[in-house]
Symmetry: C2
Amino acid sequence: MSEPRKLEVLRAIVEDYVHSREPVGSKALVERHHLGVSSATIRNDMAALEDEGLITAPHTSAGRIPTDKGYRLFVDQISAVKPLSPAERKAIQSLLEGSDDLDDVLDRTVRLLSQLTNQVAVVQYPHLSRATIRHIEFVLLAPRQVLLVLIATTGKVEQRVIDVGQDLGEDAIAALRTHFLSSLAGTPLSRLGQSLPGVVFSVAPGQRAAAQALAHGLETLAHSSREDRMVMAGTANLARSNVDFPLSIGPVLEALEEQVVLLRLLSDMAQDPRGVTVSIGRENPYDGLAEASVVATAYGPDSTAKVGVLGPTRMDYPTTMAAVRAVARYLSRILGP
Amino acid sequence: MSEPRKLEVLRAIVEDYVHSREPVGSKALVERHHLGVSSATIRNDMAALEDEGLITAPHTSAGRIPTDKGYRLFVDQISAVKPLSPAERKAIQSLLEGSDDLDDVLDRTVRLLSQLTNQVAVVQYPHLSRATIRHIEFVLLAPRQVLLVLIATTGKVEQRVIDVGQDLGEDAIAALRTHFLSSLAGTPLSRLGQSLPGVVFSVAPGQRAAAQALAHGLETLAHSSREDRMVMAGTANLARSNVDFPLSIGPVLEALEEQVVLLRLLSDMAQDPRGVTVSIGRENPYDGLAEASVVATAYGPDSTAKVGVLGPTRMDYPTTMAAVRAVARYLSRILGP
DNA sequence: GTTAGCACTTAGGCATGTCGAGTGCTAACG
DNA sequence: CGTTAGCACTCGACATGCCTAAGTGCTAAC
């Protein structure tokens, strides 16, 4: 029994099953792929693969389907990178032209990715760390309520309402605004934390508490910012292939709504800064995604934000990985260095 | 054959069917509801209702289910307003406390509504018309690209990137910013259109074109703003009751992703400024929603934005309508006059 | 190590039969 | 004239039994 052929058999099983959605038997295998041996030999190989836990049989007399472990081996060692079709490249290119708002770019990206892969696409908001402060605005909504607006040089705008803990008048707020702005304009967001204490200290004691609250709010804005937000598209693709989720797509939809789950999942994976990372079936920390796989990668200037695709375990990994990688590169390019 | 009893029979059919999801027959009807007549009489009534197109039989020997027309009559004439439970009122109340960002409020609202109704909830961003301009910021991203930020007194922040059509330096942009800001601060967004031409006219001819582009961008921000955006929650509820969408929830999910469809639908309905409007099954302009109903109403200072719920035709209309109305009132209250 | 052959297992399709729910109709009743 | 009881009829849902096709595992031969 030759080891290379066994891997070839696994590859053939994965490909056929992904294509047909049906358990694949030994006979069909020798017919579709020109392995130079008979079905009996393949049966022996399959028995070995099953012993290793790479494939499994749904019932006694059916073909085999890959297990999570089988997909894992396929993704890690067997699959070849599949180049994108010219049409797909063109679609990605043409998206570059209408570059508008960041929101807009992400929205288009995620729609594109979901169409390319026929699956659910997700993209996380990029971090701001390299940006510097362009403008700060305080807007008094109520005597103690202030709207904080932070504008960065990259074109990102963050906003938040905070309670300053003491009554402030319009004049006081305006003074604070001028003070903060003159002290902080040009500061990189990543250094904001170090600069803020000095700014607060130089405020008149009577407004020190308010300044402290404002500083805290600014820091929250700069750091956590929108990293914890994400955009999603293609949920309808889930339903189209509802054959893939035998029980129901309910748990999957729930996972998608609980964005926290997805965010954690994305953060945990894709630690390899270069490649595309895959999380298969029960490898996912969340039970609702036990029959789903996530293909993701990092993008952006400092490769911290994530973009990815979610679909059934039985997905076309090579194509999906190629699409995710291409879209991530494209995104990194238009977001600039 | 008495007319009032016929309506009573229809009401009973709707209620039972909504409750059990199964076609309801004449015998079960007389048992569950204490109508003072025999099942044979009910059969006669049901035959009449069927002739009028208010109910229909899935097959020869099954009970009847309401048609779209039947639901319509039920909603318009028969159903009584169902008060919310104390627990529900309390849930709505407790949401009022953590009022933060507008984004935050809408997000919470829509989650709450989807939980109250066990269906998909949707809320449109409110208009800004009564707000006045608090601050304007221009940020130079590239020689010709400018990020426009508009901050309104209500705490809303709008942003957009535009192409000014000519190269501008930092100084020029700063001058334009000061000019626009001093001319426009305090202007109601609704009057922005009238004020802008004067502002543009008083700009030096060399920068007139750029000023024109900026003015146009501002007007777009103020007017269209985010009215065309919406927040959604509870899509997982669709899958849970996938019995309700016999074919597949695919078309429904597609409709939800095509937010344009939903926005138009919401705009077309809910013209009655006081009540809750219902669009049932095939009354919906979009085919994918042929088996869905939408319950919506207007909210906000000028009652232009919409909030609503989408679910299967077979939904508990009285309860859903009560929840939508309550949430809309609550939303209007915290968004203030 | 590979192959052919064979007994064995099982899902799925199909025909059949039965049961129960529900209807429509007719005739009788107040 | 509206209401009721009774009855024949229809049809879906379900269970049963049977058969076939697909596929496996094993053994013995090459």
